[in-house]
């Protein structure tokens, strides 16, 4: 059987809270990264605070989170996780590539393909959902490539630099994912 945690460009890894906190604190200094990944106001956390938050996060039993490492040089480049609603077998996926020099090179799409396979074949989910900012066109293209379909918008719920923008919802059903793989 194939290794679920290894893709073409990246592998999913489990990291100590310290290692992740160090990387997260560095990534969060880049406010563009923050605005692409998150809706909350940007803020800076100490490594200690981030580590404690990570430790708590890793104990949540509905959250299955991984770090993303590049296969070429084993660099820690991002994170991806599924937050599962078990009775309905639906999960929200969140992803971030923290290393700016690797944006737009397919690392995120590769990690997303891994988490989809993990979600549908290991966790036996029926559906995976995500939300993104409408101004994050690069992310939307990546999600479309991974198979997600556009499902709706929450209109103008975001306000950044005096400009309003939408939150976009996308989703992928298990049977759609299977059909996509069969067609490839």
């Amino acid at each position: 059987m194939r290794d679920l945690f290894r893709g073409e460009l990246v592998r999913l890894s489990g990291e100590d809270p310290e290692t992740r906190a160090k990387a997260e604190v560095r990534w969060e200094r880049d406010t563009e990264y923050h605005r692409l990944a998150d809706g909350d106001p940007a803020q800076l956390w100490s490594e200690k605070k981030m580590k404690e938050w990570m430790e708590k996060r890793m104990q949540r039993e509905n959250l299955h989170e991984f770090s993303i490492r590049s296969l070429a040089d084993d660099r820690l480049i991002g994170a991806i996780g599924l937050f599962v609603d078990w009775p309905h077998k639906d999960a929200w996926v969140g992803i971030g590539i923290g290393e700016r020099d690797l944006w737009g090179k397919g690392y995120g799409t590769d990690a997303m393909r891994l988490i989809l396979r993990y979600g549908f074949t290991e966790m036996n989910l029926r559906r995976i959902s995500l939300a993104l900012h409408a101004y994050n066109a690069r992310a939307q293209r990546s999600y479309e490539k991974a198979g997600f379909r556009l499902e709706g918008q929450m209109r103008q719920d975001q306000l950044k630099e005096g400009r309003r923008s939408d939150t976009v919802f996308m989703g992928l059903l298990h049977e759609e994912w299977l059909a996509m793989l069969a067609a490839q």
């Binding site: 078990w86 309905h88 077998k89 966790m123």
Partner: protein
């Protein structure tokens, strides 16, 4: 939609550690009940020990743990308890355990009714695929009740139990969602 926690003569309600501590400590004095529920040596627990244990268990708030007290509908009397615990979410299976504490209320169908309620809860609310239980060979009344609720015999751990100079088996029983649907169709 009708309430899925209300049956014909029993209903499921929340666990109150205060009330259940008192009742549980009392039921626990009956060593026959204790032997039906557990393979360990029968022990006696005080009201406080029972209450403390329940409070700790309830505090855990595990996402896959569903625990109810069983009450008689007509007078609200506390009859026992029933718990459903998800084993693995990705395979959607759970274990169930059930007890009717009052000896003079055994064999009257209250347990079977509570089990029917919990099975409906498991298959239609938690959307599970399978429910498993274990029961001891020397408890034929429980085995009959589980058969009535639709459980099938799946296997046995031979001679695991030792009671009164005899060895007894632990029986495994299980029910799949499709079997439960079929079982209830034929009943209706």
């Amino acid at each position: 939609m009708r309430s899925i926690l209300q049956g014909k003569s029993v209903r499921l309600s929340a666990i109150d550690p205060e009330e259940m501590g008192k009742a549980g400590s009392n039921w626990n004095r009956d060593s026959e009940l204790d032997r039906f529920l557990d393979s360990r040596a029968a022990s006696l627990l005080s009201v406080k020990a029972t209450k403390d244990y329940l409070e700790k268990e309830l505090e855990k708030e595990e996402a896959g743990s569903f625990w109810f007290s069983i009450r008689r509908s007509e007078d609200n009397q506390l009859l026992g308890e029933i718990g459903l615990g998800v084993v693995h979410w990705n395979t959607s299976d759970a274990f169930v355990d059930l007890s009717i504490g009052e000896r003079d209320l055994w064999g009257k169908g209250f347990g079977t009714q509570a089990m029917n309620l919990v099975l409906e809860f498991a298959f239609t609310e938690v959307n599970l695929c399978r429910v498993t239980l274990t029961v001891f060979e020397y408890n034929p009344r429980a085995i009959r009740s589980y058969e009535k609720a639709g459980f099938r015999h799946e296997g046995r751990l031979r001679g695991l139990l030792s009671r009164e100079g005899k060895r007894w088996d632990v029986l495994y029983m299980g029910i799949l969602r499709e079997e439960w649907q079929e079982h209830n169709k034929s009943k209706a």
